[in-house]
Amino acid sequence: MKVMDKNLGLEEVQKLEGHTDRVWNVAWNPAADGVIASCSADKTVRIWEQSSLTRSWTCKLGHRLGSFDGNTCVWENFATDSESVSVLRGHESEVKSVSWNASGSLLATCGRDKSVWIWEIQPEEDDEFDTIAVLTGHSEDVKMVLWHPTMDVLFSCSYDNTIKIWCSEDEDGDYNCVQTLSELNNGHSSTVWSISFNAAGDKMVTCSDDLAVKIWKTDISRMQSGEGYVPWTHVCTLSGFHDRTIYSVHWSRDGVIASGAGDDTIQLFVDSDSDSVDGPSYKLLVKKEKAHEMDVNSVQWAPDKESRLLASASDDKMVKIWKLASEP
């Protein structure tokens, strides 16, 4: 499916109203179609479901949570009634991000206390979580953690301007920092807010307070063949598109990168077709001005390949659903 059709635009499908304070993040349920979760400074998580009849979204569930209390909660039975099954204590201040690995056996968390924690679920112990690593390489708040889509390699990005890559190379199963992407290797010059992988897992996109979006790559087949760790290298930098901090980037299954920033815009980028001598490059596909009335904190593509739906969350208390489609 070619993404390079002319006149593509981001069409607002629906505005989800309900939160009473800024919305920090949205996530699509990977298993249940048309279900989104959003979390807000109003101390609630809301679950929104799309009706199969009317195709419109309503809020199904709202949960009160502790504030920046340093705890991570694991919930079960997402689509119907949710129950908090486990509370993971450990971080000294607020937990900023959580990520499950591909198999769902490991959970990574990170926070303002500069650390990254890895927890392993113990099925024989009633699904208890054991801490298997506390990683302290970053010198400042860790903004986000994300597991690689196919391998148990963990990525973290931070207020210290770097991206760190962690994996367990020895028999002890100890996790170590195997690479740091900093200004020295074409990395960002200010806080890195978000990371996302393409479907194949051989490319990664990051965004920052330095107003740039950067693309990185690795030789995934070498890494998967068990040769040991293969470093990531910088591919290109997209700058001059956003003029305020870029808070979120997300790479869709069909290759479109979405970015959301403090300039209230959502922008989409794709691999430009031209096979130039200098290597791959990326271009702007769509720029949605005033996507929200205030900062866009999070952008997330729906996990399926056809819908081309994008969810966004903002300081304006809204969650919006968009569709990438040809403009009339």
Binding site: F68, R112, Y159, S190, T191, D209, D263, D316
Partner: protein
């Protein structure tokens, strides 16, 4: 109570006369007037310094010229000058200015706060912190900081 202050002898400047606004031109009551430098300065001039019974204006921590505004693009930048180079109260002052502006300006506004270049020992680190929204949110969940900020902000009229 006096000992232990970062700056025991701040310089207090004479108060400038407050200019009264005279609207000679605009007669249409429905058109909102563009927000200008003076209006924004009016929001922050009476914030109290965290350590002294003087305002930020008295101590020239902020001046009318320290406010840069572009109403059409909903942008404001306030550059403040702490009274001493190692002022650890600089974070509190920056936070107070931000909170006051967040409460006083329309939500469309983008607000940047920074210390005057060369006026503080850890200028870059301070500026970064003052403009990171998660750090600001975390600071505002800290009861001690919130108490300090509340004491510095002028009470609502």
């Amino acid at each position: 109570m006096v000992s232990g202050l970062i700056n025991e002898n701040p310089i207090i400047y004479p108060k400038k006369e407050r200019r009264l606004r005279t609207d000679t031109s605009i007669t249409d009551e429905l058109t909102p007037e563009p927000i200008d430098q003076l209006e924004i300065f009016d929001h922050i001039r009476d914030i109290k310094d965290p350590e002294h019974p003087n305002t930020l204006e008295d101590l020239r921590v902020v001046t009318e010229d320290s406010v840069e505004v572009d109403d059409e693009n909903s942008y404001v930048r306030v550059t403040f000058t702490p009274t001493v180079e190692h002022c650890s109260m600089a974070t509190v002052i920056g936070l107070c200015v931000r909170v006051k502006l967040l409460r006083s300006l329309p939500s469309r506004y983008k607000i940047d706060i920074r210390v005057a270049p060369g006026s503080h020992a850890t200028e870059d680190a301070l500026n970064k912190q003052l403009n990171d929204k998660e750090r600001v949110a975390a600071a505002l969940e800290n009861p001690n900081l919130v108490e300090m900020v509340d004491e510095c902000l002028p009470s609502e009229e």
